[in-house]
Symmetry: C2
Subunit: 459 residues, 2 copies
């Protein structure tokens, strides 16, 4: 990086806006074990400053990596020594909440949890939630089209965004801060940037959709003995709850056995010897009616032998206990090194896929531990595979074992985490040549010098 450019950036952002020390102590991913290698971190406070940064950088061909909360799982925020970081850590203003339109206007560095809490304080609800809510920023959620636990009812991050402001590689500000549910005036440009992992533009502000708060959650853990009953149970619960199903999270025995010991649990909420467990949650407004409806739906499921055991949470404490089992990803820690995959595929292909994938892993090393859980209702599974050793060959063999069988089943190598650097070599397994060509054409159109998060997602 040229001393001239650094000088100009100091002038632009002031001493608080340019960090050159202590950078290596920062991490760039959600595992916390990936050091930031960049030599300079810029901390703008406005869209205009981001625009000015990109005008300077594009004039000099300086590459940048935009960072939000750095909770990604795919090396999407990795940096090299010759890259600049643009950190959104000072763009944390919630600019306004409009109770009549039910929108919130924010800068992109606001942590997800702040947005959730602000919506709640206004008697409303922001329909995106995920484990890293405390540190993940809304800009990162948008840039990766984050998923999480409520997709089945409310959709992904994309569906929560009404308007977007983006700085392009050449510094132009694309301001599409639409506030309406409907706007068909020309191409809807925001979708180019949502989910493109910071490679096509830098998200600086957004208009978010808020909804009615549904204060009553009814939660149960159920067990079943066959995979094929889970999709049937999903459809049964969707129908029987009349659209109130808010979560349908599945836990394979492999995961349940290690995860139930998580926070506050002393004994498992259900015995550990069922093949499959499902965490069900409905959300509504009438505690008694919702409970009766939920119990009736479970009763029918029991009669139809879709489930063989069930426990309904009787208190908020018990609800949290059930969710703690689902969320106990740290219980995988003893099996490190592991890869936590994030595949998605049609429900009708899932059982067959898992058999082939597990056989592939056993061929590599039959002692490797595999734990499966995920958002079955969205076709999205997290499979944690123990590597045994962290040699690149082993890693590659395991990746191929997991990704290979997706191809002929119409599956995807990423349901929600995105591609980053980690999955880039495998993108061709789930995207056609023409799809990849078009992605490359878009990248070249919007970032011809490859300045924005260069080398992530696609070449």
């Amino acid at each position: 990086m040229s001393p001239d450019l650094l000088q100009q950036l100091y002038q632009l952002l002031g001493p608080k806006g340019v960090v050159t020390e202590g950078i290596e102590q920062r991490t760039t991913d959600g595992w916390g074990n990936n050091d930031c290698l960049a030599s300079v971190i810029l901390r703008p406070t406005t869209t205009q400053q981001v625009s000015d940064i990109m005008r300077l950088c594009s004039a000099e061909g300086q590459k940048v990596v935009t960072q939000g909360g750095c909770t990604n799982m795919t090396h999407a925020c990795d940096t090299s020594r010759d890259e600049l970081v643009i950190s959104m850590e000072r763009m944390t203003v919630i600019e306004s909440v409009d109770n009549s339109n039910r929108t919130m206007t924010v800068q992109s560095g606001v942590p997800l949890q702040h947005i959730q809490e602000r919506a709640e304080s206004e008697g409303l609800f922001f329909a995106l939630d995920l484990g890293a809510r405390g540190s993940a920023t809304i800009g990162g959620n948008i840039a990766t089209n984050a998923g999480g636990n409520q997709v089945i009812r409310y959709g992904m991050a994309r569906e929560q965004v009404l308007g977007l402001e983006v700085v392009l590689a050449d510094g132009r500000i694309l301001s599409s801060m639409n506030q309406m549910l409907k706007n068909n005036a020309g191409y809807d440009l925001k979708h180019l940037f949502i989910g493109s992992e910071g490679t096509l533009g830098i998200v600086t502000r957004a208009v978010l959709r808020l909804r009615s708060r549904l204060p009553v959650a009814t939660t149960a853990l159920v067990a079943t003995d066959q995979f094929s009953k889970m999709p049937r149970l999903l459809n049964h619960m969707e129908s029987a709850l009349g659209g109130k199903l808010g979560a349908f999270e599945t836990l394979w025995q492999s995961y349940y056995r290690i995860a139930y010991g998580g926070e506050q649990q002393t004994s498992p909420p259900l015995p550990v010897d069922y093949p499959f467990y499902i965490l069900l949650e409905s959300t509504g407004i009438d505690a008694q009616q919702d409970r009766e409806q939920f119990l009736a739906a479970l009763e029918t499921a029991m009669e139809q032998e879709l489930i063989c055991d069930a426990v309904l949470a009787e208190s908020q404490h018990q609800q949290q206990g059930l969710w703690a089992v689902r969320d106990n990803i740290p219980s995988l820690q003893p099996y490190q090194p592991i890869i936590l995959f994030d595949i998605s595929l049609p429900l009708s292909e899932m059982e067959n896929y898992l058999e082939e994938m597990e056989a592939n892993i056993r061929e590599i090393d039959s002692s490797l531990f595999i734990a499966t859980l995920g958002h079955l209702g969205d076709g999205n599974l997290h499979v944690a595979v123990q590597l045994g050793n962290d040699q690149p060959e082993r890693r590659k063999a395991v990746e191929l074992a997991v990704y290979g069988p997706l191809q002929q089943r119409g599956g995807s190598i990423s349901g929600e985490h995105g591609i980053g650097l980690e999955k880039k070599p495998y993108l061709h397994l789930c995207r056609s040549e023409v799809e990849i060509q078009l992605m490359e054409q878009l990248k070249k159109l919007l970032d011809p010098q490859c300045l924005l998060n260069c080398g992530k997602v696609i070449e």
Copy 2:
């Protein structure tokens, strides 16, 4: 068009695939008063044929207009003598319904109503509905990102599309027939084509999302005396119905007075002297519970003086009667020539906007009739303005009177109908220079010869 090209197209498509006679009897819009001027209509039956057509046309620089059901309101399917029409009228196959994944795979020429009926016959539900359902095709719905009456709960056409197959201007087939709710493997290319009105690619097939059918609809017409009470009523009903609100359609007295006489109505369901009427509908699964909940919500609204009158439909016949008032657009016919606008704007700006807009119209001619109705819950209003005469100057004056006051209020010239030819001159009123630049860049990237619906939406 060169005789050589025509000869090649005959060879490709056979005699049934090429129509050269009776074309002027076809109409190209939803008003039915716009003749098709093209000299040749092509009727492919497969994506491959569409691809072959575009390879031939791009080699010769031949411009094409893709047509579905031609129910658009914006001159989006207009043709000139030197353009070819690619009609989807023979691409009408519903290829499969997957009950487990809850998806339907279709060719793009299938009429919307066939998709709705097929979903229903499988005990499922396709969450897009609009007046032209019988002739509008799913390909047209996707190409225009159609809205309709259920957006408030389920979103627009965009939200119902999981996968898409598109033929590009150069004949390449972009097949992104994703079946999952979640797929973050690289850029989500389908969003480029949804809502781009056939200017970036030709939609040939799609994977649609199906949902649980909610068989119980509870419907009421209510009246209120102040505009400002409608947004409050919307938020009240959203909360009080726990997310079950399916429609919130508003009718101004100006529209209600002429529309109540529609099909099957002899006397108005509510007196005609209230300033505002709202058609409310909830959808669920339990007739009695839903009704009690709905009545309780109305009672609270009455106590809070949000509404001053209400009638609940007691039968399906009565429900249809209430919807017939809403849908009685033909009652505007005596006021022809009219323009039916399709604006959207933030709820908090709407009342003030309408005042300014009406004052503008009165300045042109104080005798012109204005009728307002629309999807207030989505920020989207239809305003019908009588022109008095059909001189281009009058038309332009009225358009400016309606579109002008949108600009400073963050409104849009099109909530759902799109831009086509009709609204193109006004796009700059609701899109910034950078937005329009980027739209033009995308058009140039994907269709450098301007072969696809050239001159619609943008230059």
